[in-house]
Amino acid sequence: MVAYTRLCVATAVTAAVALTASACSSGGSKGSSAPGVTSTTVTIGSTQPLTGPAAPGYSEIAPAAQAYFNFVNDSGGVNGRKITLKYLDDAYNPTQTLTLTKQLVLQDKVFAIVGALGTPTHTKVVDYLNQQRVPDLFVASGCSCWDQPKQHPYTFGWQPDYVVEGKILGDYITKNFAGKKVAYFYQDDDFGRDGMKGLDTYIDKSLVVSRQPYQPGNTDVAAQVSAIARAKPDVVVLETIPAYTALFKLTALKLGFNPTMVVSNVGSDPITVSGLLENFAKQAGASVKGDQLIEGLVTDAYLPSLGDTSNSWITTFKKVHDKYVPKLPFDGNVVYGMAYAYTFLQVLREAGKNPTRQKVIDALEKGGLTGPGLVPYRYSSSSHAGFTGVQVGTIKSGVFVPAGSPMTTDDGTGPITPYTNQQPAAPADGVPAG
């Protein structure tokens, strides 16, 4: 009798619970001509790692983007519509990413997914989004895999590919550190390996004395860094996230090893890295905060430097930051979030008074967008990749100082060419002009 009771109760409870669950489902907006669009709002969604090991730094991006949307909403929005960004925490777990993406598309009926973060997470939802014809814009990852217009017509990248960055850094090293020995310290995934691929195109393999991968999540990198240090390279290229840039520097300090560090833009945000090194500066004989330990670090950027206070984009973003998200540090992640938010606003405006998903895709493929980037986008009907390159520079006194001119290239065998056009000024009220 008891077992039968159990199964009976089980089914009943499950049903009851699921019923309640479905009762809590939020209704979709009554779209006029597109899901997620009403006469006064546009709702977009995003999946982000807000908690868990991938959260540091990246958890600031979506709130910063939302802050920019709120700023623009306060002056009336775009074409009379306010933008609502719904971002959900997937804790960098691809199962969660898929569940949340389906929730955003099926339950919340968002107009588009914007700025979804992560390669291992987003690669698992790309097929679904394209099947459902949901615009999948500005994926926050430098994987070249977002640039597949035939297979994934609705997916667009935004930041420069890791291979592109690697090529430009490699070229810079060959020109400025000719004949010097090089080593690579890289994250053991697409980010690190694609970066190395780019670097290897320009750096002579015989000059590379050590290549050491690390696993993100395991902070014990002593074995790898010591292997590099003992090989005595003059230049070490770091394809690392900020925590590991800092860990490399600390272990290098321990070994009395002081190479020129060339760091990917992913792991070189001066504020983040110097914050992590803050308490060690005194050890190395400096009396200043962690800034001393990153002095002379070579890196690259595709957005204006935070230290460039005369830049209209930086002043606009700082204004928005101070008013809407003052608790966040004003660092590279915040600028990133606001910059892609601006790009979305541009595309939404281009899509006209009655935006549909197809109009947004067409607006992007038309190309010709200019904005806070130092280099142009690659968007066209044959390419869905974002920024075409980066500008190399050095960190001086805690601030990125660009050198030379921004460079553009592709992620294949194309040449590196300088880009000399002026960056446009930011619009006065932050809203993209028509």
Partner: protein
Amino acid sequence: MLRFLDLTLAGLTSGAVYAAIALALVLIWRSTRIVNFAQGGMLMITTFIAYTVISHGGSYWLALVVAVLSGFVLGGVVERVLIRPVEKRPPLDAVVVTFGLLVLLQGLAGMIFGGTPRSYPPAFSIIGFRAGDHRLLFAPNDLWVVLVVCGVMVLLAVVFRWTSLGLRMRASAFAPEVSRLLGVRVGRMLTVGWALAAAVGALAGVLIAPSTFVSPTAFDAFLVFGFTAAVIGGLDSPPGALVGGVGLGLALSYVSGYIGSDVVALGALVVLIAVLMVRPRGLFGSPVGRRV
């Protein structure tokens, strides 16, 4: 040769930390026969407390004392409030409760401090000792870590062996009914056991913090390796915790250096299985007599 020396020194330092965490787990196991999955979370919270002291201008030593004291209090409170109700129940209930506590603590830390990793100062210099014209992969701060862990081990051994508190604690764990009859406040001894363990964990947290930065999830891997070390050494043996910790630290360092960083977790599994197949209760675990 230098490579081997580098890896050995690195393994020694990380091993000392695993040993400290293993010791905390062993202390809790010995007193209440529970595996504390929240150990990593508890030491994370106390390290954040220490960080708060430092960021308000406190010295390293003040922060250390505050961390250990708050660990002591936290451990006692957790035992009294959360663990007491599940002590007599099947062990899996305690596993889930401590897991729940871990998630709760990580969530609270995330709410209060956010996810950004914070920098924590070391006690001493991190510049490696000189040996000829090389610098060793071992700095004064690393020596401090190793010495502190050994010191704590010795201190606990002294307390358990030669003080009446230690005797009462051992009696409460080994024969609670008899101890009660003899006037030992068994419940209080259990609380003290947890409090001590959490204090040791807090110390471990402060020792690790400079090289891992402080964030809600920074210490997760340490719990896993600490537990592995405790199991390798034998869950009821404090010297086992030291041997297990240092042994695991060395083994993982060699795996990372000679084979690759991608198989470190697998290496830990292999070492653990190898030890347990030969000695199912860990290297120094005491075989339990069976009542038939």
